[in-house]
Amino acid sequence: MSRGAALAEGKSNILQSVNAALADALAEDEAVLVLGEDIGDAEEGGVVGVTRGLSTRFGEHRVRTTPISEQAIIGAAIGASLAGFKPVAEIMLMNFTTVAMDMIVNHAAKLRFMSGGQTNVPIVIRTMTGTGFGSGGQHCDYLEAWFAHTAGIKVVAPSSPADAYGLMRSAIDDPDPVLFIENLPTYWNQAEAAPSGYRVPIGRAKVLAEGRDVTILAYARMIQEATPALAQLAEAGISAELIDLRTIAPWDRETVLASVAKTRRLLIVHEAVTPFGVGAEIAATVGEALFGQLAAPVKRLGGAFCPVPFSKPLESAFAPRTADIVAAAQTLAAHL
């Protein structure tokens, strides 16, 4: 389906939705800026085109292509934000946050606190990641747990076009740094588009399907793996509730705890490696809050504990798949 046709039908994909959110924010607020490698239209609006059209429409000074200098990118965003701007900085792939961690963690996340509230850093850091395209050990990591472990920065990871639009608008509105994680392999998945101006509140999870027997909590691409599991589980007589976490920090305890209080069983699914991952925090919190009320131990499914392998069969086996989710949910449901 062509883009025009899709939009006419109210459809969009995540790539288009991020683009639309940036365009709408740039149009509405002069303070919004976009910067990063290859993002201008002279460079085709980003390596996969997420920022296409923006520099032409809003000018090369507001939408600015940078050298390959991630510390300088985040530093420029921080500094401009201290002077009243709302920059959206792209770190092309999440693994490249490793060369800008000082700027993100020691500065962006801390300046509000260290200044006693005098300055804040209203920046958004966009980054892509995810296994599936065979790019190997240094291009696909999910590192969200690092940032969630850092006071002063929020972390979101939308799985649908509408959430991508709505969370990007909220991230830009937000007075604090927000890390915005885009899943590369699912950029082109089509679904309902968000109306212009739509906001998804940061910190609010979404119940995608209601169920009685087990809660499946996932985010980003894992929603695509978990969704087909629901029907398979239903066939086996298991009613699963599916929650899209959407915001990883601060995460929505209320929604998650209410769901698990009802189902008494929780399966957490993410693409990041399991040990010390996001699932650990949620499992620990749920274990404490619902102590004695669970029918089964909280189960975590995450990436294998290794660097992301290149070879296709290994890469496919790295992250949880629908079958793994079905099997794990069945095991949980078997606890009466």
Binding site: A72, G75, A80, L82, T119
Partner: protein, 327 residues
């Protein structure tokens, strides 16, 4: 030497006032720490007074600076009020940052001190962003990025100078080369003068005697006017010397005794004081009065700081985010 900028008498007095304040503040800091009334990590800027005093004489209140843990001289020269500063050093709620930042993380937007960092090199990337903002707004503000000689070897330096040059940002990179990075001598960590690196970015790089008011003023004013005119960044390497060890309490045994004695003997503060008197810009009584005023202000600031309250424990949950967020 024709188009040399030279500070007029009033400017020279302003520069000296800053220098005297920095020197007195340093002496007071060490005294107060030694007395046990205040505990803090303290990185003395003694010996480096001329640099920020000349720079700030060329700046307006609206201009920005980013500085580092060794930064009280930069802050005082830019105008951070003594009471606010001392209360912060003492960790009190009346401090610039409610006591939460401390000596390495002073922020005081009212005087243009936007970031003080404890991470070597990290003042520079952020300074670029402030300069980018000024460029976008066209408000003519200039940003100063202060850093040390040791910081010239870290990645952030390179990325920042390159970006500033390519984007023609109104920023001045001021390397305060005090010959030491902690316990390590500069010439053990680089084969070239820092200023020589300007050329690697297509940016003027100048090395000046940062302890000579006239040299320093000219270099600072040239760079600042260039930035303000939209002509882009400059790298200044201001040669100076660290009079003490890296941090208060450091025995400084690694510093060559003779070199240090020579530097202290050439102390720029009394030297410039003598110049002011010799050249008739000020007389002894006038300067003595200025110095006494500074001492009185320090008395007041220290008393104010130490009489102030500490922040309440609830401050741990405040200013983490704009709103309070459950952990």
């Amino acid at each position: 030497m024709d188009n040399r900028f030279s500070p007029d008498a009033a400017t020279q007095l302003g520069i000296y006032r800053r220098m005297a304040l920095i020197k007195a503040n340093d002496e007071r800091s060490r005294k107060v720490i030694r007395s046990g009334r205040l505990v803090m990590p303290y990185y003395s800027p003694r010996g480096q007074e001329v640099i920020p005093s000349c720079i700030s004489a060329c700046l307006t209140d609206d201009d920005y600076i980013c500085t580092i843990y060794r930064g009280t001289h930069d802050m005082l020269a830019k105008g951070v009020p003594l009471r606010d500063l001392w209360a912060e050093l003492a960790g009190r709620v009346t401090g610039t940052c409610k006591g939460k930042g401390g000596p390495m993380h002073i922020t005081h937007p009212a005087s243009g001190v936007m970031v003080t960092t404890g991470i070597v090199g990290s003042s520079m990337p952020i300074a670029n962003g402030l300069a980018w903002a000024a460029q976008l707004k066209g408000d003519g503000r200039v940003t100063i990025a202060n850093f040390g000689d040791g910081a010239a070897n870290i990645g952030a330096f390179h990325e920042s100078l390159n970006l500033a040059a390519v984007w023609k940002l109104p920023v001045v990179f001021v390397c305060q080369n005090n010959e030491w990075g902690e316990h390590t001598a500069y010439d053990k960590t680089s084969n070239v003068p820092v200023a020589a690196r300007g050329g690697a970015y297509g940016m003027p790089g100048v090395r000046v005697d940062g302890n000579d008011v006239f040299e320093m003023y000219h270099a600072a004013r040239t760079a600042i006017e260039r930035a303000r005119a939209g002509e882009g960044p400059t790298l200044i390497e201001a040669m100076t010397y660290r009079f003490f060890g890296h941090v208060f309490g450091d025995a400084d045994g690694y510093m060559d005794k003779d070199r240090k004695a020579a530097a202290v003997a050439a102390d720029p503060v009394p030297r410039f004081r003598t110049h002011l008197i010799d050249s008739g810009i000020a007389d002894e009584a006038q300067l003595a009065a200025m110095e006494a005023e500074i001492e009185a202000a320090l008395d007041d600031a220290v008393d104010f700081a130490l009489a102030s309250d500490f922040p309440e424990p609830v401050e741990l949950t405040r200013d983490v985010f704009g709103e309070e967020v459950a952990a």
